[in-house]
């Protein structure tokens, strides 16, 4: 299950969604971050029930907006898709990048996972290239502490040149701190910009000089120069629309681009190599920053996780454990849920009797009683008593399995057998969910879809081929 080219292709992401500002003074804040870093927890915590979810024009990649108030300003928070980078390799990344670049957010909050900061810094560094009004939010500090990972938030902030706040998104007071930091976010930070290898830097400054003489709205000329070097086709169309002038038809600019690209090619940097060099610089910078600010008392992937994984995915115990868990889930969903189903059923039976008695006392005609009580009310009672308990058991169970990271391991275990039918291991989950979930909860497939199939949590353990998770 994932995003297909057709459902999310260029048509799906060619326009930014409208942001619902209530007044002119509302500030739009984009919430960016890797998948599975608790971005939604931050979003939900900050906005409460004050949110609405819509789709990007062309659907599938959904975007949620919510409101929250600080002492100084009111904010419209826009939850953009979780991504590992902004290089637009997948539909989500394209959506994320387009919103950050062309959605004109007043500030960007990048949520990071304290337990693997290095990986997250890649996105932070890329975001700093786009905007200087960035607040970095290192989430899961409590979890990191438990894993004996210490992060120097102050040092990180000094190095990045933007405010950094360490939080545990489950705590109310931590979220209040985020809002305070947003209120206090300086208009002009001096963020760290990644240094690329010298030939690329020269090419950038060449292009930048030309670009600075153009009308760029809020785009950063250095960033734009970088993107022009990358020759990113999806971006060029977007730029044209945003800037309102023909960037490809600008003779001086294109000449300059050709010259610098030839110069780069002369030094062995052509096509893919330019991008490789850029990615390498980003990854190295992230490594350096993490090295300075993160202190681990043991290796990130510790002994306990290792042993557990060995059991969950080994040749002899992997499949039996999987079957056992599946059976247990089935058992709880089907057999155990009969008990609350029975309770609900007798409750509705009792209510129906009361209603009937009431109708008789009022002397209502038979057809009215038939329509309202034996017709509508009884059907409602049946549906609720049959469907609610299995759903109330299955979905939390599945979420539990997801939260403890077992689902990606299923995908890993089943990749080989599934590949025999030209599928991949991740589809095992779809099958599982569709089979069990939909069977018990057909009308709720919408919840299912929005709830976790698109939440992109499987990425860390997933096969790299299929984009950023589900």
């Amino acid at each position: 299950m994932g995003l297909t080219g057709r459902s999310t292709g260029r048509h799906a992401v060619d326009r930014a969604p409208s942001v619902c500002r209530r007044s002119e003074t509302d500030r739009v804040v984009a919430l960016a971050g890797n998948p599975n870093v608790g971005k939604s927890t931050v979003f939900n915590g900050l906005t409460g029930m004050n949110q609405h979810t819509g789709n990007w024009p062309g659907k599938t990649v959904s975007i949620a907006q919510g409101r929250c108030s600080g002492r100084e300003h009111d904010y419209v928070l826009v939850d953009i898709p979780g991504t590992y980078s902004l290089l637009a390799h997948s539909a989500e990344e394209e959506v994320a990048r387009n919103f950050l670049c062309f959605g004109d957010p007043d500030a960007i909050v990048v949520v990071c996972d304290a337990t693997c900061l290095e990986r997250n810094l890649n996105l932070v560094l890329q975001t700093l290239e786009i905007s200087s009004r960035v607040l970095v939010c290192v989430n899961l500090m409590d979890e990191a502490r438990r894993k004996q990972i210490h992060i120097s938030v102050k040092r990180l902030s000094e190095r990045l040149g933007v405010p950094v706040v360490g939080i545990s998104a489950r705590k109310k007071q931590d979220l209040a701190r985020v809002v305070r930091e947003l209120d206090a976010l300086p208009a002009n930070n001096n963020p760290y910009r990644v240094r690329y290898p010298e030939p690329i830097e020269q090419a950038i400054s060449g292009l930048q000089t030309v670009l600075e003489a153009r009308e760029l709205k809020r785009l950063n000329p250095r960033w734009l120069a970088l993107k022009l070097l990358e020759q990113d086709k999806t971006l060029e169309a977007e730029l044209q629309r945003y800037l309102g002038w023909d960037i490809l038809g600008d003779a001086e600019l294109q000449d300059c681009r050709r010259t610098v690209c030839e110069a780069l090619a002369g030094q062995g940097l052509d096509g893919d190599r330019i991008k490789d060099a850029m990615v390498s610089s980003l990854v190295s910078a992230a490594e350096e920053f993490a090295g300075e600010t993160v202190h681990c008392e043991n290796h990130g992937y510790s002994g306990f996780d290792r042993r557990l994984d060995r059991i969950l995915t080994s040749k002899h115990t992997g499949y039996p454990l999987m079957l056992l868990l599946l059976l247990l889930t089935f058992f709880l969903t089907i057999t155990v849920s009969n008990v609350p189903s029975g309770w609900l059923s007798s409750l509705f039976g009792f209510l129906e009797e009361q209603l009937t008695a009431w109708f008789t006392r009022l002397g209502a005609p038979d057809w009215l009683h038939g329509l309202l009580v034996t017709g509508m009310f009884r059907t409602l009672g049946w549906v609720v008593s049959v469907m609610l308990p299995p759903m109330a058991i299955f979905f939390p169970l599945f979420t539990l399995l997801e939260d403890c990271g077992y689902l990606p391991r299923i995908a890993y275990n089943l990749d080989r057998p599934f590949r025999c039918c030209n599928a991949c291991g991740k589809q095992a989950l779809t099958m599982c969910v569709v089979d069990i979930g939909i069977r018990t909860a057909m009308p709720y497939s919408a919840i299912l879809h929005g709830g976790f199939l698109t939440s992109g949590r499987y990425a860390a353990w997933a096969h790299p081929k299929s984009g950023s998770g589900f």
């Binding site: 290089l87 290095e118 893919d272 490594e287 992937y301 290792r306 060995r310 291991g425 353990w461 790299p464």
Partner: protein, 85 residues
């Protein structure tokens, strides 16, 4: 070892250092995204029950990669063994 080795040749428990990516397109980008650049140390953690995708520890994250895709990743062996092995 001068002969070219690829990532699929390391066994569970062994480590290797990435030398070069010999793949292109989408796969290359995914590899770069997960931090598989030159001089990155990678440890093989295990194989899936089916024997094919193997799990690798890359920059603190556990990633499963199929043997077929690993063949595009050139490695060299580090001199010292893993300190925690």
């Amino acid at each position: 070892m001068n002969q070219k080795q690829t990532l699929d040749s390391i066994r569970p428990g062994e480590r290797a250092v990435i030398q070069q990516l010999n793949v292109s397109g989408q796969m290359r980008r995914r590899f770069l995204d997960i931090g598989l650049i030159e001089n990155t140390t990678v440890e093989c953690l295990g194989r899936s029950p089916g024997g094919d995708p193997s799990a690798y520890l890359i920059r603190g994250a556990v990633i499963a990669i199929r043997a077929q895709d690993c063949r595009g990743i050139l490695i060299r062996r580090p001199a010292e063994p893993a300190p925690w092995a």
